[in-house]
């Protein structure tokens, strides 16, 4: 045991030199203009690093969470359910069953004797009480170890209850958050396929000649209706004359998810999470997919144009889209311009889950005259990082699967004015006297689409121009608005 030395805990002043990068992580920290290596990514977090990532369960839970008329039962000890209760700002226009937290709350005896009976009983009771349209059963770490046959229980209950009961294989340790997305996609596909098979049973001829497709229709994938974003985007498509068959999973309903096989095109946002489902649907039903983003003016416009140009048979869609974009942008620009005056030249740090969001954020921030000095993601892949390298200016730090120490080190070194991230990044920013914008699941403000861009700009502007930074010790004295008289100087 070591004796205490309080001094040891103090870092040398005005320096971040003592924050070291773990050897195993050096290939995941890249300085544009300085380094030339390929950023290492898509690997497990180093043991002992305080990764900002969560687990497989988290990946599944975030994807399926917004399906509002489904039962979401978490099979395991209480923690996983407690920490994800009402966690997302995913809105529903109707039922709100998704906002409840259901757990089998496994105890010691369940761990010893198995949790299957408890799971079955819990499912039957909950389905009886809440009449959900489907049920998802999330397997947590322990289920993978005690060997409950969750598939069998789900099959049983599905037969008894007459609703789809789908196991989600999201044992926390079986990979990364990305594997959780995949497990959620598997469950979603099962649900879609049940719908497909049901309709082909009822209307075999219609399906065979391809008439089951709804003309000029799309599915929106990877959009979760945080703060009502799905509604904003749906409205655009409505104005364009494009029919939205289902949104996966924002403001989600089981019935619509089950009709997803009838759409002509899958439009995938949040590429990390639902591209796998889009690929699966392409293979199964021949539905092509495109990848888009609805963050920022450019990306939102591109997304709508890409969809419009897919429907070559209906030229009027493109005309309407052009009109829509023009109208929206015109309305938006004066407000943005005003804020841009205060934001020009300010430096931003970005750390988000999926890299696709980072691309959009870089563009959106440039639109506001801002410079990105740090950008990182929890789950980016090789192509993502190559693109980030291209997009960023020399001097930008690019990080994969970072931790609080690294993030702090570089926001200090790069002297950022704002940090864009999630709840876990917020205290890092605030403690260091840096503004913050929440761009994660927990936010309550829509940041997607054109009006979302205005909200985003306001969020950024509100925090960057707050007078509190003048009082923060790390910044005090640097600002022009407050002059602290120094000894010997006349105020």
């Amino acid at each position: 045991m070591k004796q205490i030395s309080a001094k040891k805990l103090l870092l040398p002043s005005s320096s971040t030199g003592s924050i070291s990068i773990l050897e195993e992580r050096k290939q995941q920290v890249y300085l544009k203009g300085n380094d030339t290596f390929e950023i290492s990514c898509e690997k497990k977090s180093v043991a002992g690093s305080v990764s900002q990532r969560a687990c497989v369960f988290c990946g599944s839970r975030v994807v399926l969470y917004p399906i509002a008329d489904a039962l979401h039962l978490i099979h395991g000890p209480i923690g996983c359910a407690s920490y994800t209760w009402d966690i997302r700002g995913a809105l529903s226009s109707g039922p709100e069953l998704h906002r409840m937290s259901f757990s089998t709350d496994l105890s010691e005896t369940d761990v010893i004797y198995g949790g299957e009976k408890k799971l079955e009983k819990a499912l039957v009771e909950l389905i009886e009480t809440y009449s959900p349209k489907a049920a998802f059963v999330y397997c947590t770490c322990i289920v993978g170890i005690i060997g409950d046959d969750v598939e069998a229980v789900c099959r049983n209950v599905a037969l008894k209850s007459g609703i789809p009961v789908l196991p989600v294989h999201s044992e926390g340790f079986k990979g990364t958050k990305k594997d959780g997305y995949k497990a959620a996609c598997d469950a979603l596909f099962k649900l879609i396929d049940l719908g497909y098979r049901r309709s082909s049973f009822h209307y075999p001829d219609i399906l065979r000649d391809g008439k089951q497709k709804i003309p000029l229709s799309i599915n929106i994938l990877g959009e979760f209706n945080i703060g009502g974003e799905t509604w904003i985007i749906r409205e655009y498509y409505k104005r364009m004359g494009v029919e939205v068959v289902s949104v996966m999973t924002g403001d989600g309903r089981v019935e619509y998810v089950q009709s997803a096989h009838r759409a002509c095109l899958n439009v995938v946002q949040c590429s990390g999470a639902l591209t796998y489902l889009a690929k699966t649907m392409e293979a199964a039903y021949g539905i092509p997919y495109i990848r888009v983003s609805y963050f920022g003016i450019e990306d939102t416009a591109d997304a709508l144009y890409d969809v419009a140009s897919f429907f070559t048979e209906a030229q009027e869609i493109m005309e309407r889209t052009k009109h829509l974009v023009q109208e929206e942008v015109e309305e938006l620009l004066p407000g943005l311009e005003e804020m841009k005056q205060d934001l020009t030249g300010k430096r931003a740090a970005i750390y988000v889950g999926g890299a696709f969001k980072a691309f959009s954020l870089i563009k959106a921030l440039r639109h506001l005259g801002m410079e990105v000095v740090l950008v990182g993601s929890q789950t980016g892949n090789r192509e993502d990082y190559e693109l980030l390298k291209e997009m960023c200016r020399p001097g930008t730090v690019i990080l994969d699967d970072a931790n609080p120490l690294e993030l702090a080190k570089y926001v200090i070194e790069k002297d950022a004015h704002i940090f864009i991230g999630g709840v876990k990044e917020r205290p890092i920013a605030y403690k260091l006297g840096i503004g913050f914008c929440d761009h994660n699941h927990e936010r309550k403000i829509p940041l997607a689409g054109f009006e979302g861009m205005l909200n985003f700009a306001r969020e950024v502007h509100d925090t960057v121009t707050s007078p509190v930074w003048d009082l923060v010790p790390r910044k005090a004295g640097r600002s022009s608005s407050i002059q602290i008289p120094v000894k010997g100087e006349k105020p």
Binding site: M1, K2, I4, L9, L11, S14, L22, K44, V46, A47, G48, S49, V50, S51, Q52, R53, A54, C55, F57, C58, P77, I78, G79, C80, A81, S82, Y83, W85, M100, S101, F102, S103, T104, D105, L106, V111, K121, E125, L126, T140, I142, G144, I145, I146, G172, F173, K174, G175, N403, L405, A408, K409, I412, V423, R426, P427, Y430, K431, P473, R474
Partner: protein, 460 residues
């Protein structure tokens, strides 16, 4: 009391899992980083949960299990994790808490630590067993405190009682707010008595803005203070349920020091309200042979005067109280002394000692009117509350969904407070804490009445 809930599933739990409590307790020790031996998600979720309450960085490391780890055991990962934390954080101590995963595959953490030999000279490793399927976050918290005391005060160590050390008192407060912990420290300072408060996250989880990055925030109980705990005059432990569980043979930090070193242990409920605070001060007088400063007597005087001024607004009002069992018991005691009937006392905890604890705290006439439920979740609570016509609820922010449905005000106390700022600054204990609670409760009821009134008088 209903033991068996009608539902097999837990719906909107009124509890968290054991490792969370351990991680919080470890944050109350100077230079300590908690390490959860399990999946990455446990650490990340608990960090997020704690950050949302404290609004401060809360670093919790993970040994980050993979599929292979689960099959072949977590030893290698745990060792790597320990070494990486040591390199990045250079901590005094790493507090290792297990999870359901590592407990179920049967990792022998003590042996793994031992097998590391002398590699970790600079950093102490303390292990606490916290399988998430057993107990609640409160148990994890107490177990972690006990594990730390155990490790730093081994049986063989000499119980050297010098006159200076004799005046020192160990205080194990349990899961209190930052402001509560600061209040306790102030009291001891005012009576000029040395205090070993364990844990103490009041500085670490509520510090000033930083000049430079702090990998481990300042503050926390110094380890050298923990090492001296076996030389104290006595120990105080808050929690009637904790005390009853000790009587049943479960260990606690205080009982360990008592049995191992004959350090007398005084247990009492959390000092919320006049009567409980009176007990606390008289205990202090007895242990330190010092008079309670005038300041506190004045606080008491003002408090009772306030009780009188507000008596009509609270008398016979009906409250739902929920949260950790010990916290609920203490809060119910306070409510009873101001005339509010805690018609429903509920907790997700399941110690089996909740009823007895409340019986010992509440006057008989009040006790008869209280519906007591252990192992209860918020959905059951809401259903049950509908039959009880409550005027308000008192507890953490997780009850908001329920109170919104019931259309009653919620007075936010305890942990966690996720939907307001400053929850960690709420003072619950002492005369001053009771004063603040009383004012908040009265004003909440007044506002409810005023808002509902057709006239809307601007006088009370």
């Amino acid at each position: 009391m209903r033991e068996n809930r009608p539902y097999t599933a837990t719906r909107n739990a009124c509890k968290m899992c054991t490792p969370l409590g351990a991680a919080l307790a470890f944050h109350g020790i100077e230079g300590t980083i908690p390490l959860l031996h399990g999946s990455q998600g446990c650490s990340t979720y608990m960090r997020r949960y704690l950050i949302s309450h404290f609004k401060e960085p809360v670093d919790i490391a993970s040994s980050n299990f993979s599929e292979e780890t689960a099959i072949f055991g977590g030893g290698a990962n745990l060792k790597t994790a320990i070494q990486n934390i040591a390199r990045q954080y250079n901590p005094e101590m790493i507090g290792i808490a297990t999870t359901c995963l590592s407990e179920t595959i049967g990792d022998d953490v003590d042996m793994i630590i031992e097998s590391m030999g002398d590699i970790m000279k600079e950093t102490a490793l303390v292990h606490v067993s916290t399988p998430s399927y057993s107990g609640t976050h409160v148990d994890g918290f107490h177990h972690a405190v006990r594990a730390v005391v155990d490790q730093y005060n081994p049986s063989g160590v000499k119980n050297r009682k010098n006159s200076r050390a004799r005046k020192k008192i160990n205080l194990f407060p349990g899961m209190l707010s930052n402001e509560d912990l600061r209040h306790l420290k102030a009291i001891f300072k005012d009576i000029n008595t040395e205090l070993a408060l364990l844990p103490d996250y009041s500085e670490r989880l509520e510090g000033p803005s930083w000049m430079e990055y702090q990998s481990i925030q300042h503050g926390g109980t110094p380890i050298k203070e923990i090492q001296k705990m076996h030389r104290a005059t006595g120990s105080i432990e808050f929690g009637t349920i904790l005390a009853a569980s000790v009587e049943r043979g479960n260990g606690s930090a205080g009982s360990l020091l008592e049995s191992r070193f004959n350090i007398p242990l005084a247990s009492m409920g959390i000092p919320i309200g006049v009567k409980a605070t009176d007990r606390f001060f008289s205990l202090l007088e007895k242990m330190t042979l010092k008079m309670i400063p005038k300041k506190y007597k004045e606080q008491r005087g003002r408090l009772i005067d306030a009780y009188v001024d507000g008596n009509k607004y609270v008398s016979k009002k009906r409250a739902i109280v929920y949260g950790e069992e010990d916290f609920v018991a203490a809060m119910a005691g306070f409510l009873a002394e101001i005339g509010i009937i805690p018609v429903l006392c509920a907790s997700g905890g399941k110690s089996g000692l909740f009823i007895e604890s409340l019986r010992s705290i509440l006057p008989e006439n009040i006790f008869k009117q209280v519906s007591i439920h252990q192992g209860m979740d918020f959905t059951d609570m809401e259903e049950h509350a509908r039959t009880l016509m409550p005027d308000l609820a008192i507890g953490n922010s997780k009850g908001y969904t329920m109170t919104r449905h019931l259309d009653i005000p919620l007075v936010r106390v305890g942990f966690p407070i996720h939907d307001r700022v400053g929850g960690f600054r709420t003072l619950h204990i002492g005369y001053k804490g009771a004063q603040q609670l009383f004012d908040t409760i009265v004003n909440t009821l007044l506002q409810k009445r005023q808002d509902a009134s057709e006239v809307g008088y601007s006088y009370m």
